[in-house]
C-alpha cells in the first residue's frame, strides 16, 4: 500500500510540476463559467431551475471533455515510460507491477478530481453568488454530477492504461486512445440512433436498448445525470430515461464496473509485458 501511495504521490507531483493540474482545472473552470452564464440566458422564464440548466450543460461538456483529458493523461502511462526508459529502472525496484498501475491510477484520478471539483465548483459558486435561489434538490443533483464526472474520468483513465499496456509504441497508443474517444463519444450514439430509425422497434426492444446503453460508459453517465429530476425535464432525456429500468445506484455501479474491468485487464497485460 505504501508503494501505491508513493507512486501516486510522484504522479501528482509531476502533474503539478508540468502544469497538467493547472491546465485542466483552468480549462474546465473557464468552460463551466462560460456555459453557466451564456447557457442560462436563452432559458428566460420557463420555470427551469438555474442550477438544473447548468447541470445539463456541464454534463454535455463532461461527456466530450473528461474522457479526452483522461485518455490524454493515461495513454502514455506505461508505454511512454517504457519508451523513455524510466520504466526499466522503476521495475527493478521492490515494487509490484500492479502497485505501479494502481499508484498511477490513484494519482491521475486525484488530478482529474481536483480539476473537476474546482472547475465545476467555481461555476456553481459563481451562480450562487449572483443571488438566484437554488434548492437543496438541485445542489444534490449538482454534487452527484461532479462525483459521476470523476467516475467517468476513472473509466477512461482505466481504458487509457489498457491501451498503454497493450501498445508497443507511444504513437500507437495515442491513435488507439483517440479512436476510443471517437467511438464512445461520437460514433456509438450516432450508430445507435441510425439503428433505431432503421429498425422501427422490430428487433430492438426496450430491454435490448438498455443493454446497448450500458455498453457505452458515456451513455451511462448521461442517463445518470440528465435522465431524471429537474434536469431530465430540461434536457428532454426524461422520455428515454422513463423507459429505462435501472436505478441511479445501478448506473453508478455500471460505471464502477467500467472502471474496474479495464484496470484489471491493464494490470494483467502489464504483468506479462516483457521489457
Amino acid at each position: 500500500m505504501k508503494n501505491v501511495l508513493t507512486v501516486a504521490g510522484k504522479e501528482i507531483q509531476e502533474g503539478l510540476r508540468n502544469r497538467w493540474v493547472l491546465a485542466t482545472t483552468v480549462l474546465l473552470a473557464a468552460l463551466a463559467l462560460t456555459l453557466t452564464f451564456l447557457g442560462s440566458a436563452p432559458t428566460g422564464n420557463v420555470g427551469a431551475k438555474p442550477l438544473d440548466v447548468v447541470i445539463v450543460s456541464l454534463s454535455s461538456l463532461t461527456i466530450f471533455l473528461v474522457p479526452l483529458i483522461a485518455l490524454l493523461i493515461a495513454h502514455d502511462a506505461i508505454v511512454g515510460e517504457a519508451e523513455r526508459g524510466t520504466l526499466l529502472l522503476l521495475l527493478s525496484y521492490p515494487v509490484g507491477r500492479w502497485q505501479v498501475i494502481l499508484g498511477k491510477f490513484v494519482g491521475h484520478l486525484a488530478i482529474l478530481a481536483v480539476a473537476t471539483i474546482v472547475g465545476y465548483g467555481a461555476a456553481a459558486v459563481a451562480l450562487a453568488a449572483t443571488g438566484v435561489a437554488i434548492g437543496i434538490q438541485s445542489w444534490l443533483a449538482f454534487l452527484s454530477m461532479i462525483l459521476s464526472s470523476i467516475l467517468l474520468g476513472a473509466v477512461f483513465v482505466s481504458l487509457g492504461y489498457l491501451v498503454s499496456a497493450l501498445a508497443g509504441e507511444r504513437g500507437t497508443a495515442g491513435g488507439i486512445a483517440i479512436g476510443i474517444w471517437l467511438l464512445f463519444v461520437l460514433i456509438y450514439d450516432m450508430a445507435m440512433l441510425g439503428l433505431l430509425v432503421v429498425d422501427q422497434g422490430r428487433i430492438i426492444t426496450a430491454g435490448l436498448l438498455n443493454v446497448l446503453l450500458l455498453l457505452n460508459p458515456t451513455d451511462v453517465y448521461r442517463l445518470l445525470n440528465i435522465g431524471s429530476g429537474g434536469a431530465g425535464a430540461v434536457s428532454g432525456m426524461g422520455g428515454i430515461a422513463q423507459n429505462f429500468a435501472l436505478s441511479p445506484a445501478a448506473l453508478a455501479a455500471a460505471l464502477v464496473a467500467w472502471t474496474l474491468l479495464p484496470l484489471t485487464a491493464a494490470a494483467l497485460v502489464f504483468s506479462r509485458r516483457e521489457l
Binding site: 526508459g85 524510466t86 515494487v95 521489457l275
Partner: protein
Amino acid sequence: MTTETVRLSEVTKSYGKQNAVKDVSCALREGETVALVGHNGAGKTTLIKLMLGLVRPSAGKVSVLGEDPAAGEFAARRRLGFLPENVSFNMALTGRETLRFYARLKRVPLAAVSLLLDRVGLTEAADRRVGTYSKGMRQRLGLSQALLGEPRVLLFDEPTTGLDPALRSSFYRIVRELRDKGATVLLSSHALNELEGKADRVIIVDRGIRIADGSIDELRNIARLPTRIRVRLADGAADWPEGWVNAHPWRRINGQTLEIDARPEDKVMLLRSAADAGTVADMDVLPPTLDELYAHFLAQKEAAR
C-alpha cells in the same frame, strides 16, 4: 569472501526463435568486481535483466541473494542496485525529489538522500530539475539511486558511456569502495581496455554464449597472445634483420622501427638479445591489450563454428 550472491544455472532466454542468451552458467561472489564484456547485442543487457527478474528465463534457473528474482519477492531487490544503460528520469522533477522517490520505494531512510547526492557530487544541482542536467549529471544521479540502501549486488549496464575521464575515475573509485565492503559489482561494457586493473574477473559473451571467464591474467595465459616488442634501430645499422630477430615473426613499421611478436616464454630472452645488440637505440614493450584479448576469444569462437 566466497559467498555466492548471484547464480545462473544453464539459463536460456529466447525471443521467438532468437536466442538472446543460451545455456549460460556462472556464479558471482561477494567482494568481486566482474566485467561482462561483449558486442552490442551479445546478450549483456538480457543477462542483467534476468538477474533483475525483469524477464523470465525460457529455461534454467536464476538466483540472486538466494531468491528467484522473477518470483515477485522483494527482499532481495532491496539489496540490489541497478544502473541501466542510458539512464533516464522524469524531466520535471528535481534530482532530490527523484532520489527521494526511489528511496521510499526501497524503504531507505530519507536522510540517506542528501548524503548520497553529496557522494556523487550533485549537492549543488540537487534542487534543479533533472531536465536541466547534463548527460554526466544524469549518470551520477543514476549512480546515486543504485547506491541506495547499501546494496550487496550492483549491476551496472555500460556505466561509463558518456562520462568524461574525471567522472570515470571517480566512478571507479566508488566501485572500489563498494567491492572493499564486500559487494558484488557487475560492470557490463563493450570497451575492455578501460577495465584494465578495475575488474577481478572478466566474462566474455558473444551471441548469448559465454565464451570466456576468468581473471585478466588467466585469460592472457589461455590466449597466449604475443607481446609486441618495438625496437628502434640506431643510425647506420645495415645488416638487418639479425639472427635473434629472424626466429620470431616481425614486421617493419617504418625505416627505423621494427615490431617483433614474442611468445610469452620467449619474451625475456628476446629482450635480453635486444639489449645486448648494439644496433638497438630504443625499445618499447607492448603487452597484449584487453581489446586484443577480446578479439582473440571472438576469433577463436568464430573458427570453432
